[in-house]
């Protein structure tokens, strides 16, 4: 019980930390914020249910007005702005990523890559694109076109999430709750 709770809370904090640290060069010369990487990791490391709850907690605190979203953003305004769809999709993305790792019993790294792509990209975009279409007064195909520049970065993050999850499975097998 306590262990579930502290993992959920500390991973919610981790998402914030990954968004607040000075942008790290994930691959040299391309600074991208690691926040959505945090969302993917919540799912692939904590599993579907705990990952979902950790991200819900994070989103609730952002809504409540804590500046935890990358760039120090926060508040209810985000939920009526262009990124609304992404914020609402975050918890679902983590759930799907975790679900894939839990259920697809192949090598952890492979399952984590599949989970991160399916949850962190397919599902997240499925929420994010309609959100942009609605708030920016665009059609869905137009909004999808607006989202494509971010695809490359998100694919890199999915690969990183898979590598890191695999590495944890080796370094600390007991800590990988998604395969616990």
């Amino acid at each position: 019980m306590e262990r579930n709770l502290t993992h959920i809370a500390l991973f919610a904090a981790l998402i914030a930390v990954l968004g607040l640290i000075p942008k790290i060069d994930l691959i040299s010369g391309v600074p991208i914020t690691a926040q959505s990487l945090g969302i993917m990791l919540c799912g692939t490391v904590l599993g579907a249910k705990r990952g979902f709850l950790a991200v819900v907690l994070f989103v609730v605190l952002v809504a409540a007005g804590l500046p935890l979203l990358s760039g120090g953003r926060g508040g209810i305004g985000l939920f009526v702005g262009p990124s609304a769809g992404y914020l609402i999709g975050f918890p679902v993305a983590a759930f799907v990523a975790g679900f894939v790792v839990e259920r697809w019993q192949v090598r952890v790294g492979v399952a984590a890559l599949a989970g991160a792509v399916l949850g962190g990209i397919v599902v997240l975009y499925a929420f994010g694109i309609p959100g942009m279409a609605l708030t920016l007064g665009k059609s869905l195909p137009e909004a999808a076109l607006l989202a494509t520049p971010f695809l490359a970065g998100d694919v890199i993050k999915a690969v990183l999430a898979a590598l890191v999850t695999q590495a944890i499975a080796q370094a600390r097998p007991g800590a990988l709750l998604s395969r616990g």
Binding site: E2, L5, L10, I24, V60, V80, A167
Partner: protein, 198 residues
């Protein structure tokens, strides 16, 4: 931790959070339907509300709208390319008014008040096992551990740079994540030592 609540207290601080949240919902839905003069009126209303807080409040309010600029630029370029530049205005007016009002609510509502409201909204979830005091404990833990973990991150980055000429890139993720997992176990133990999560 710093919140986005304005240090300048204005009249809207004393309104109930429920009223303000309700206002956002109604206003945002209405904006979708408004056109022309009515839309301009809605924008003017939001501007007037923000301006009623005085110069400092208004400046902070404007600053919070800054993340919208890339979208404004994008939509404008798009409309120019489509040959209908004037259509930019209603789109941006709706977006700016909705975000502007919601930001003003965030600025005039204490964190504790919004959290109390959200806890209240989450009360039906108590049947599913999510007790309000557990939610409150989780919220406190996040606020407590964000600065602790930022410091930990800085220490790990420093340790990396002490032994490498390169900037710590993604390699730093692994130690940060392991530290988080270990911390979660230790904190769970400390929580258990003091009576657990109820």
């Amino acid at each position: 931790m710093l919140t986005l609540t304005s240090p300048v207290r204005i009249w809207a601080h004393s309104l109930s959070a429920w009223v303000k949240l309700g206002a956002i919902c109604v206003f945002t839905l209405a904006l979708m339907q408004l056109e022309g003069g009515w839309l301009a009126g809605a924008v003017a209303l939001v501007l007037a509300l923000a301006a009623s807080g005085g110069r400092v409040f208004f400046a902070q309010w404007l600053k919070m709208l800054r993340p919208l600029w890339p979208f404004v630029a994008l939509v404008a370029l798009w409309q120019v390319w489509l040959g209908a530049p004037w259509a930019t205005f209603p789109i941006i007016a709706r977006l700016g008014a909705a975000v502007g009002l919601a930001n003003a609510v965030t600025m005039t509502t204490e964190l504790a008040e919004i959290l109390a409201l959200l806890t209240r909204l989450a009360r039906p979830l108590a049947r599913l096992g999510l007790k309000p005091q557990v939610l409150a404990l989780c919220v406190a833990l996040v606020i407590r551990f964000v600065p602790v973990m930022l410091l930990r991150y800085a220490q790990i980055a420093l340790a990396f740079r002490a032994r490498s000429p390169r900037r710590p890139g993604w390699r730093i993720l692994m130690p940060v994540l392991l530290a988080t997992l270990d911390d979660a176990d230790r904190v769970a133990e400390a929580l258990r030592a003091r009576g657990g999560a109820g």
